[in-house]
């Protein structure tokens, strides 16, 4: 496994078809959410297409900008791999196959079949999938917590969205400029 990953890394960026298939695989296998966690495992750890810092930077931007973050992140990684066409391959890969499955499922069941066993099994898979997204949170937090102010921003953002249930947009509109301004000030201090 590790050898194939190293060979792929040595062979240069993957082809467009390969990018589409890789994202399509994630779109089709990720039950219960946590897609960015799947991507980290697949693209950073298994295939080594992108480094973890690069991935986490992309994730931060994908989260803060408009758009569904999983789609944004696919676009970002696709672009890093193969420019514009790579971005398109990433977005189509994550959206189209999963979309076809979803429509097929609606067409197949007039109403959603409430089979109890399926329901319970999916709840279990969803619980494990929360672990995927939790893991992403721990990784990003560990990397971002460089000093007191970033830690305060992590805690404040978490409390505002997770506990107080404030809407995302205004929280980002306040937290992001403040945090970026602080980071800029720190960077300038370090250089000065």
């Amino acid at each position: 496994m590790a050898e194939t990953a190293a060979e792929e890394a040595a062979a240069g960026p993957p082809g467009l078809g390969e990018i589409f298939l890789a994202f399509g695989k994630i779109g089709l296998t990720s039950f219960g959410g946590g897609l960015s966690g799947w991507m980290l495992r697949e693209f950073v750890q298994n295939r080594r297409w992108i480094s973890e810092p690069d991935f986490l930077n992309g994730l931060a931007l994908a989260q803060a900008f408009p758009g569904v973050n999983v789609v944004n992140l696919s676009l970002w990684i696709g672009f890093r791999l193969r420019g514009g066409p790579g971005a398109l391959a990433g977005v189509l890969g994550i959206v189209v196959p999963a979309m076809l499955v979803a429509i097929a499922a609606v067409a197949a069941f007039g109403e959603v079949a409430q089979v109890q066993a399926v329901h319970v099994a999916l709840a279990g898979a969803a619980a494990a999938a929360i672990g995927l997204s939790l893991q992403m949170g721990v990784r990003t937090a560990r990397r971002a917590a460089r000093s007191v102010v970033p830690v305060a921003v992590i805690v404040a953002t978490f409390l505002a969205i997770g506990v107080l249930r404030l809407p995302l947009l205004p929280v980002i509109a306040v937290a992001a400029p403040f945090s970026i301004a602080h980071a800029a000030w720190r960077l300038r201090q370090r250089r000065g």
């Binding site: 499955v101 969803a126 619980a127 929360i130 971002a144 953002t157 992001a176 301004a181 720190r186």
Partner: protein
């Protein structure tokens, strides 16, 4: 007015593209309001059905949009709604990706990356926490999430195995 349905889907979903942040939950209430109350594409119960299905099938949870389009106007509706909700924000992020590649390593870029990192971390943790609170299975769900988180942080286990383990565990215990 069958032709107009596609147009209406565009009118509904294009602006929502810019308002969707995070996992797409931020626009859920508005999708519901527009498709049930404003345009009457479906009943409340049908909307809940589609929502449940979008959570059960793999892929981005935001595929609810596709299903709403499909319900409103068949295949054409599904395509139009999906394209409408993903294209505008994707073009914006594409522009951002180009800008990033062009000014690689510029001080402002480092500041934005360093500044957004803690905000993103807070968002991801909050999203996980919200999901945990809503998760079925109570303590068992929390335990499963914690185990899967630790396994992913410290081992190279496949997420597939963890999802399978979660499903089997819940079937055995029936929380």
């Amino acid at each position: 007015m069958p032709d107009n349905v596609l147009l209406r889907l565009l009118i509904v979903f294009l602006p929502l593209s810019f308002l969707s942040v995070g996992g797409g939950q931020s626009i859920l209430a508005d999708i519901h309001r527009q498709s049930v109350d404003v345009y009457g594409w479906m009943t409340d119960a049908r909307f809940l059905d589609l929502f449940g299905l979008s959570r059960m099938t793999p892929g981005p949870g935001s595929l609810l949009v596709t299903l709403v389009g499909w319900q409103a106007a068949g295949w054409a509706g599904a395509l139009v709604a999906t394209a409408a909700v993903f294209t505008p924000s994707s073009l914006l992020v594409y522009g951002l990706a180009r800008l990033w590649a062009r000014y690689r390593g510029a001080p402002w870029q480092k500041a934005v990356e360093a500044g957004l990192a803690p905000v993103a971390a807070g968002m991801v943790l909050a999203a996980s926490f919200t999901l945990l609170q809503a998760a079925e299975g109570g303590v068992l769900a929390w335990a499963m999430a914690a185990v899967s988180c630790l396994a992913l942080l410290f081992t190279r286990v496949s997420p597939f195995l963890l999802l399978g383990a979660g499903a089997v565990l819940f079937l055995l215990v029936q929380p």
